[in-house]
Symmetry: C3
Subunit: 456 residues, 3 copies
């Protein structure tokens, strides 16, 4: 077997269909609709109605937000939005199973809208980690990561939220920090010395940056729904919406200001705008439903915006060169550090009594547990993903859709199509250059005109 | 009159304004707000509130979903998203009139949010058919198709759902199968032998495929709202959301797996991902609100994903070469076959007693009626559209916005602009090539350098 | 100091952070959650639930709608969507403060979802004005405009709606006409004679027009939410949704028809489709919640569509050449004239008694006040923005992201990168042109033609 067995024809379909068939069997055995009305008072229907618009917002964040955010790479848009859809589509089925395995009634898992929101949430961890290894992994590797990461996430979430009763309504710790450090651990194991000096495809083009902004803006807009989706209805939910709204607004100003400050000539950098403007949503997550007041949320947001932008500028290159962590999308800056900031803010808020029945100690345990599970889980997952059989692309094919996708010919930059393009360009440009071509063709063999020209 | 009278200057504005003026007159005579509260218990207001977020989801599917899904063609994006808007904007006005002509109170049609959702639905049939003839028709032809198709749709829907009481909550039969076979019948009548061997513009470029993914992902995300929009509130609506969510998730895995399996080298094909991932939403439509359990929905989804992908790969070329049906977007694979699958699943579910008051016989009649109206209506509509006066583009201008749109010069691929482009490219590239141009200009007249070169 | 001090490194971050810090201090002093339930009957919670999906729709219009609508320019997409986000993020914080300074309880402003919707609304004025000066201003100038325009808007809105009790539910007068004429006044003060004959970057390319259509379609779809967001729940809100839906549908037909009518060869123009299709939403704003019946809304829509398209074709060039008003996005045609039309329609509707407690006289005062505040405020703001210190770009760098943004190299159209591009194109096209280059290189020195080529 060669080191790079990147032909997916059998291994990918077999793995994908096998996972889906196993999932269907488990659903046939375990999963039913939540159509009973336990309280007999209509609260059940009301709850589903209330949740349905929030559910759609979260759905948009998962599939459009994360998907398009990663299309910034010039030749990796198909994979970004396409594999994002694949992983999330599998992840939500798997997540719903594992999240509810702890709460079965009569041996059955009952599904309602709230559980579908939580299933969407569980996929976010994978999509965050996907950002760390973007461009350097095969669809097979990523399906394996999805399976293992969601499993790890569900265990940690059950421990932190279910057992310890830690408050993490917007999931700064259990999703963002977890997903980031899990992905960074995987990226560490999959370290590629050959990409030390960068890769020609590891950058954006003008329109790919605009596609990425679709993702950014949707995440930015709907983050209030993300952070409030599973908050207690009423005042806590309202607080979660308001805090997130203002944290993000303050964070945007901070990200723009810092981006201009750290770039020579004071120009804005799209990488910062696409990512650091969102750090306020991450960082306010844990205490989104707490009584921190709008200005408190804004302080968290402005801090996150500065930290995140500075991270992109100065920390990401150091992580790559010193620690061997090649973090394609900079998830450490968008989800990692802001996630920890969110966890710390939650500890402080708990200590200040901003939410009932929440203690700083347990909050700290929740943060530690999330980081621990992420790092250990990520390392083990990375080792499994490193097995050469899974079709990891060779260095020179990284950040390039064409290794796993049929890509339209025109823009495929191989010699043939480039020549065709130029030839037809020249044809159209007649007479300016066509005659040069005629001249050239005439002299091509034996590449001299005659005595005189030969002497050139 | 020439065979191709493609100048739209009078015929298009006259037709469009005439249709709009007639519509306004009919609205002035017939249509009023549904502002009375028939039950006097507030249920009226509650219904509008409940429907309003679903309404927006459906609206997004119609205008963003269908519109951008069709932007995959490299030079037909303006028409895809622009004409989609035009047809839907007229179609919803016309559809609302005809759908409610059967249910007038005191000679008036009363409008509420639910009726606006249904009006949006009626336009979906046209947008599906649009996909079959995409790139080969004029805006005038398409407005005529909109008028006739929505009229036919409303008759069939009234017969199937209103008279026979067939259950088709997600409209697998009455919208998807209907729209697909109507469009295929039109495409058959408008068969173009000149396009037998393809057309240079009938393909995508890298970024047009990404624009199309915006459409795909929105359709995928909001399909649960589409299938549940007019379901009975409460358990049936919840089931419709859950079944569609899981059918689509399973379908996505199946489409990815099958795409890799049927392509040489196991690569993924964007055409499959853009379309076949959605087949699960179509196929689960008829029995979305029935008690088929989540795993039942997943079985339907996985089947639809496989059938649809295989259809794109193997059936579409055969339809074109053997039956003279040139189906630009492959609506047969996304809406046709999955729509029939949905109808069949509904028959089976009815036979198994999955919904009260629904019988397999009537369900089968509903499917037959939808297909019959579609084929006959499509053939007649196609014949009317074939009249040369409506500005059908000649073969060589197919799949090209520039015949009906002002297109920005830079990328217009005519000789002049290409020459300008190249000249300015050369100017900027000085001195590498500019001197060659100087050399060339010097030798251009009399196109010889001297005795020796003259002999070339 | 040079006339064009476009390096933003210090002035932009300082201004942005200063504004944010001042805002946070004011929030710490004045702003709290609206978590009390004044009526003790749950109406408070219900109100927030009802508003939350409308809030997201408005949010999408502000950030995606306005942002992407302006990406039509070929080299100004980063600024369009990026600076749109910056201005709206600051504007909503500032707007919420000023809008509620008139209605404090116990010295505090209480925030709920409805007030966040209104804060989003206040930013729309700035984003409309941004369209008039798009491409010709620096981020610093635009932050100053945001501060001053929202302040002016809040005074006028308080006077018109709060004091005079004018009815303007969809804000045709107080937002659209106000924002347009404010922006036009600023544009007049910032008149650039050097751009009299256009600018090579002041146009679109194929894909930038498609990005702009994302903005158009989202604005078109969610406008019913915009016009109904702050309407009285129940019948008035339902009327606002219905009227806007039908006004936009009729307007779309009119815009398409007129676009084809005024263009030679009857082709459609993307500028008209992107903008004039939306004029119906603007024009029906003031009387959206009034009892004008669907056909009345359609008459307003069709009128707006015609006026707006004709304005783009004939009026915009005259404004630029005769009045020195260079209106980049044509906001006069989308927001200005349709806004006035909306105000006039409101006066007529009030005179006809279509809404209780509304008089034609007060409506007329509302329109006059909005126009007056806009023109005077805009002129003063323009004069302040004209101070050279704020980094206004020189004429030759207008409509070009690269003056304030890091732009990916490939597409940066400077001599160096163009040369690299062409060289690598030629390399790939070997042997067609590479040998010409070899030939050229060989003859380059001494590069002259004479007797024989040898002496070149």
């Amino acid at each position: 077997m060669p080191a790079y067995a990147t032909n997916m024809r059998l291994k990918f379909p077999i793995l994908a269909l096998m996972l889906e068939v196993v999932t269907i069997v488990l659903y046939a055995l375990l999963v039913v609709y939540d159509t009973g009305d336990a309280h007999g008072d209509g609260s059940h229907e009301e709850s589903n109605t209330t949740h349905s618009s929030v559910f759609q917002d979260v759905h948009v964040m998962i599939f459009i937000g994360f998907g398009f955010l990663m299309t910034f790479l010039k030749r990796y848009g198909f994979s970004s939005v396409g594999i994002n859809l694949l992983l999330a589509a599998f992840g939500l089925q798997w997540g719903l199973l594992l999240q509810n395995i702890w709460h079965m009634h009569n041996g059955k898992i009952t599904i309602n809208i709230e559980k579908m929101i939580n299933a969407d949430f569980s996929t976010a961890t994978v999509l965050i980690s996907f950002g760390a290894v973007l461009g350097k992994t095969s669809p097979v590797q990523l399906l394996i990561m999805t399976l293992l990461e969601i499993t790890t996430f569900c265990i940690n979430e059950h421990l932190v939220v279910g057992v310890l009763g830690v408050s993490d309504v917007g999931a700064s710790m259990t999703i963002h920090a977890f997903g980031a450090y899990f992905g960074l651990a995987v990226a560490r194991v999959l370290y590629r010395p050959g990409l030390r000096n960068g890769h020609e495809n590891e950058g954006s083009v003008y329109h790919s940056d605009l596609f990425a902004m679709i993702g950014t803006v949707y995440l930015w807009m709907f983050w209030p729904s993300f952070n409030s989706a599973i908050a207690e209805p009423g005042d806590p939910q309202l607080r979660a919406v308001i805090n997130t709204y203002f944290s993000l607004a303050a964070c945007a100003l901070a990200a723009y200001a810092t981006s201009s400050l750290v770039e020579k000539k004071g120009k804005l950098d799209m990488v910062h705008i696409q990512n650091a403007t969102l750090a306020g949503g991450v960082a306010v997550g844990t205490c989104a439903d707490m009584d921190i007041q709008p200005f408190g949320a804004m302080v968290i947001g402005i801090t996150a915006g500065v930290i995140s932008t500075v991270g992109f500028k100065f920390l990401t290159p150091i992580l790559a060169s010193k620690l061997g962590i090649q973090d394609t999308c900079g998830v450490h800056n968008l989800h990692g550090m802001p996630g920890i900031l969110g966890g710390l803010a939650g500890i402080v808020a708990a200590a200040l009594g901003k939410k009932e029945n929440v203690t700083a100690t347990y909050q700290a345990c929740g943060l530690a547990s999330s980081l621990g599970f992420a790092l250990v889980g990520g390392l083990i997952t990375g080792l499994i993903m490193k097995i050469p059989f899974w079709g990891q692309p060779p260095d020179q094919n990284c950040f390039d859709d064409s290794i796993f996708w049929e890509v339209p010919e025109e823009e495929e930059e191989n010699e043939d199509s480039a020549q065709n393009q130029l030839t037809s360009q020249i044809k159209r440009a007649s007479p300016t250059l066509l005659k040069i071509k005629v001249l050239h063709d005439a002299i091509e063999e034996p590449f001299c005109l005659n005595g005189s020209i030969k002497n050139l």
